[in-house]
Symmetry: C2
Subunit: 201 residues, 2 copies
């Protein structure tokens, strides 16, 4: 199974690396970071650089696509090469997935019309621009399209995807490898939304 994760300037690192780590530990799975052309791509903090090892033209038919989000998503919506690649890759992909604001790129590629979808809470209402029905859930599966909520939700999504793509025991073994038995130190405090959005800009 070949998984492609497109990178664009201003992606959020954990959006890409959470699903990457889950899927790359699974047997028989190859994960490739792709971009317009192979080379370094820097995240939305400006301090992490991941290497894309293939260009879009090198990997037109991955089995699975995982589109990360990030502060750079809005600029990426204008990146025709990226949006066109998502659209054409989806034609043959077994699953096309997103983390966080990555779902807006699925929307721009025309994949979300009439479907339920999710994204980062701060941009949930943007989904309706693409004909999607925004839902506030951790992971939303609609046939071959799977969207996840913000940033860390990509880990949950990738484990569920792996169970569907291979078998549940494999997914459970990977969950054990990454010791994913989370103990968040605080409850989610949605009253801090304004302060949180301030950290994004």
């Amino acid at each position: 199974m070949h998984v492609a994760i497109p990178l664009y300037p201003g992606f959020t690192a954990l959006d890409a690396v959470g699903p990457y780590t889950v899927l790359a530990f699974a047997p028989g799975v190859t994960v490739t970071f792709v971009a317009g052309e192979a080379g370094p791509v820097t995240d939305d903090r400006g301090t992490l650089t991941l290497t894309a090892t293939a260009g879009y033209a090198d990997l037109p038919r991955p089995d699975v696509v995982v589109v990360p989000g990030g502060v750079g998503t809005f600029a990426a919506l204008e990146d025709r090469a990226l949006v066109d690649w998502i659209r054409t890759a989806h034609e043959h992909a077994r699953w096309t997935t997103s983390v966080c604001s990555g779902s807006l790129l699925l929307g721009a590629a025309g994949l979300l019309g009439g479907l339920k979808a999710t994204t980062h809470w701060a941009v949930l209402d943007h989904l309706s621009r693409y004909g999607a029905e925004p839902v506030s859930e951790r992971v939303v599966t609609q046939g071959r399209i799977v969207t996840a909520a913000g940033v860390s939700a990509g880990i949950d999504m990738a484990l569920a995807l792996l169970a569907a793509a291979s078998d549940e025991e494999t997914a459970r073994a990977v969950q054990l490898v990454i010791e994913y038995d989370p103990e968040p130190p605080f409850p989610m405090d949605r009253g801090l939304a304004e302060r949180a959005i301030g950290l994004l800009v």
Copy 2:
């Protein structure tokens, strides 16, 4: 606050990028990936390459050190430049921390003698080689030394560290930014330990 994350060949991507993403979203925090010398470093799956933007000599006195683990940790234990940098950086650091098998590197640097510490479940008994008392907890704080369990535990550790380094509201705001309200699809199944270890080699 300057955070340094040392990278070495065969680190586990999420060990480094989980804490990175948490800390890099916090106001007033700069995170730098360091290595023997600046340049690309590849992870333990062989398919993810992160760029170290500084060498150890460029960053001798970070405020916080976060040492990731990975399949490459055992080889890294013989990397004198890395182990010596951890030892000397700790002399002035406010906190020296590890994720997963990264704690073995703290042990090799002589920092764990007589302290409780944790690591990835698969190597927990190795900690006693360094005079540490292995404990099976998610995050273990002993003064200026904080060790976390396997891979994903670095996210929990970094949020707790951020609350201590700044204030709890900042940590809660970052937790909201990364929408860290996890829903693991499966319970932890420790009966799959042998299968999980098979995925690591």
